[in-house]
Each structure stands twice: as structure tokens, then as C-alpha cells.
Symmetry: C2
Subunit: 208 residues, 2 copies
């Protein structure tokens, strides 16, 4: 992806990445983003789920949502995603840091109007949460599709920032008998918990 003035960081340029492989892998691992826009000159942002497919990022929401209605007309948005991998504990407070992978996307929404395309995007959403689950669920209804707004954001202007590795302590601090290293931040999914309606329903393979 070509860097632009607003995707070029003012600091720590070595952490910036513009290749699709890096950007897409972060987008595909993260479940949530923050979508920011401008309403009457004021910043307004919400965290929400998203899915990437090919060279676009999708969000969805209720047709009744004020925020969705604000951005569906093509208002400029900034979408951020962050995965936090580890706390970086240095010998000085100043060099404490975080190992993270983040993406910033600038763009504007295109509303997905085609019915079949909307259904397809809702399938991608569902299968990002639980892979291979779409065909197992009660089929989506026309009314449910109509109640949902799906917005696409082409990934034309995006960048990633990534920090990895150990603390970068000052040369003169390196011999100090002060512990330095990483504290990993854990993630992942726990074992599924059935609700009252599902106590006697076998857990399907795609949830095991």
C-alpha cells in the first residue's frame, strides 16, 4: 500500500508497515476495531466488530443506529485496530513499552445494498466469530437482513505499526541489577459454556 501523509508516522518510522500481508494478518486476528468520525466538528468514536474480506473492511449495525446513519453517507472515518502482545518491562520507567500490532485505516463507507452481497458479508462476520458455523445456524431471514446495515471500507489508505522484542534500555543502564523483560498478554478463547436451552444439545464440532 502506498504511504500517504496521514499514514506516515511522525515518530518511530521503523515500526511502520505498509504491506498487505502485515496489515491483513492484524485485521484478521483482531475481532474489534474503533471507528472514529466527525459529527458537527466533534470527534465521535465507537468500538465495534468488523471483518476483512479481500481488500475491504466491513462493519455492520442496526439501521436504527445514529452512528451508522451518520457514516453510511460517506463521511470520512478513521478505523483503528490494536492487538497487545506483551508488556515491555525495562530497567527504567522511561523505556517501558508495549509489544503491539496496530492498524489505522482512513476512508469512507460504501453501503452494501445488494441483498445477496449483504448476506455474504453477514456470513463472513458470523464465521469470523465461529468458523464453519453459518450452515449450522437457523437460516437468516429477509427481515433480519433488512434490519442490518452493512458498510464496506476499501483498504486503500492503511498502515500498520508493530513493536516486537525486548526492552531497549539505555547503554548505561544495561549492567544494573534490575530485572527487565516481557510480560506476555494472554488471549484466545476459553471452553464454550452452554446456555439453559442447550444443556442437552451436543457441542458441534466447529465449537470444539
Amino acid at each position: 500500500m502506498t504511504p500517504t501523509p496521514r499514514t506516515t508516522p511522525s515518530r518511530l518510522a521503523k515500526r511502520a508497515h505498509f504491506d498487505e500481508a502485515t496489515i491483513y494478518s492484524i485485521l484478521d486476528e483482531a475481532l474489534f476495531c474503533t471507528v472514529s468520525t466527525v459529527i458537527d466538528g466533534q470527534p465521535f468514536a465507537i468500538p465495534t466488530a468488523f471483518v476483512r474480506y479481500d481488500d475491504a473492511l466491513y462493519i455492520h449495525g442496526s439501521v436504527g443506529s445514529h452512528f451508522v446513519r451518520t457514516i453510511e453517507g460517506g463521511a470520512p472515518v478513521c478505523i483503528t485496530v490494536m492487538l497487545a502482545d506483551a508488556l515491555v518491562v525495562a530497567k527504567s520507567a522511561f523505556h517501558h513499552s508495549v509489544n503491539y500490532r496496530s492498524v489505522v485505516v482512513f476512508g469512507a463507507a460504501t453501503k452494501v445494498e445488494d441483498y445477496q452481497q449483504k448476506v455474504e458479508v453477514l456470513k463472513w462476520f458470523t464465521e469470523k466469530i465461529v468458523p464453519d458455523s453459518w450452515g449450522y445456524l437457523r437460516p437468516i431471514t429477509e427481515s433480519e437482513v433488512r434490519k442490518t446495515t452493512v458498510l464496506a471500507f476499501p483498504l486503500h489508505e492503511a498502515s500498520a505499526k508493530v513493536r516486537t522484542g525486548m526492552p531497549n534500555d539505555d547503554e548505561e543502564d544495561q549492567a544494573l541489577p534490575i530485572w527487565s523483560g516481557l510480560i506476555p498478554l494472554l488471549g484466545g478463547r476459553g471452553a464454550a459454556i452452554a446456555d439453559n436451552l442447550s444443556q442437552n444439545i451436543p457441542l458441534p464440532n466447529h465449537l470444539q
Copy 2:
């Protein structure tokens, strides 16, 4: 906290909370926020670490950061925080959801200029990452404090949104033999990993 038009959700009002106990507990558990602002009419957002103390939220950054310099003058910002607790797997795709706790704060920065106050906020930052570690580290230097901008955001206009519990499937779907329930999203901290400089340094108590 008193709801305002922009902290009052347009949908799912039952998920909204305005009490300090709820808002502060989310801010104290989360390590990262997204700070959004408006630059030349365009939305611009970055993920960053933060700390809450009393009735203010603090971020810090390099004095050389373009973003920090933009907002330190008091430009309006919107700060969002999200903790994702579980994926909510319903019997229909439409009722899939997420158990989450989020906070949205509207405000503007006050730059912390007082030297001792800056040091104090940097201590809160450090001890949010690793409790009780400040006194163990190589002491912060005046130069390090001067290279760091600390911004305070009074928590005057903020709200939380919280979803808990099981899926809310449609009445007519409840007898379907389709598994529904929760998939917990795991968090927490893993065991500390020493860097090369610390292989022979005992892990301090505050990191165990």
C-alpha cells in the same frame, strides 16, 4: 455522571451506565484506549496506553509526536475503551453478539506542566503496568520527564456500555436443537520472560 446528548446511546439504552463505579472499574482494568480527534476536518485516531486517577484519565507521549502536539492545545477528543469478555453464540446469526464493557469519554486535554505532577502521573502509568514497581526501577531523570508530554482529560462527560449474559434468541427459535451459549475471551498476563541482561537477576516479588 450526568448523561449528555452525545453520551446517550441511540439504541439499547438498557446497556448504558453513567455511574462512576462502573465507568472507573472498566478504565482501571483496561490498559489501552483509542484517542480520536479532528485534524483539518478529518477524523484521526490512535491506540495508546492510559491511566485513570481520581476523576481524570491521563495519556502520555513524546513531545515530538504530531498527534500529541495536535491535542495538547485542547482540541476536542473522544476516547474509547473496550474490554471484550465473551462471544455470544446464538441459534441464529442475527442474535450473535459480544459480551463487552466499553467506555466513551468526551473532552479536551489539559497539559500537565508541573514537574512533580508529571512525575507522579508517570508513576501511576508505570504502576498500572506493573504494580509496586516504581521504587525498584532506575529513577526517572529530569531529561526523561521533559521529553514526555502528559495530558489529563477530566472525566466530566463519559458513559459506559455493558452487555452481559447469554444469547437472547427469538422465542420461536428456543426449542431448536442448535447449540447456543458463550465462548469466553481469555485475558490476563503470562509468566514473565527475562531478557538477555536479566538471566541472572532474580524476578522481583512485584513481577511474580
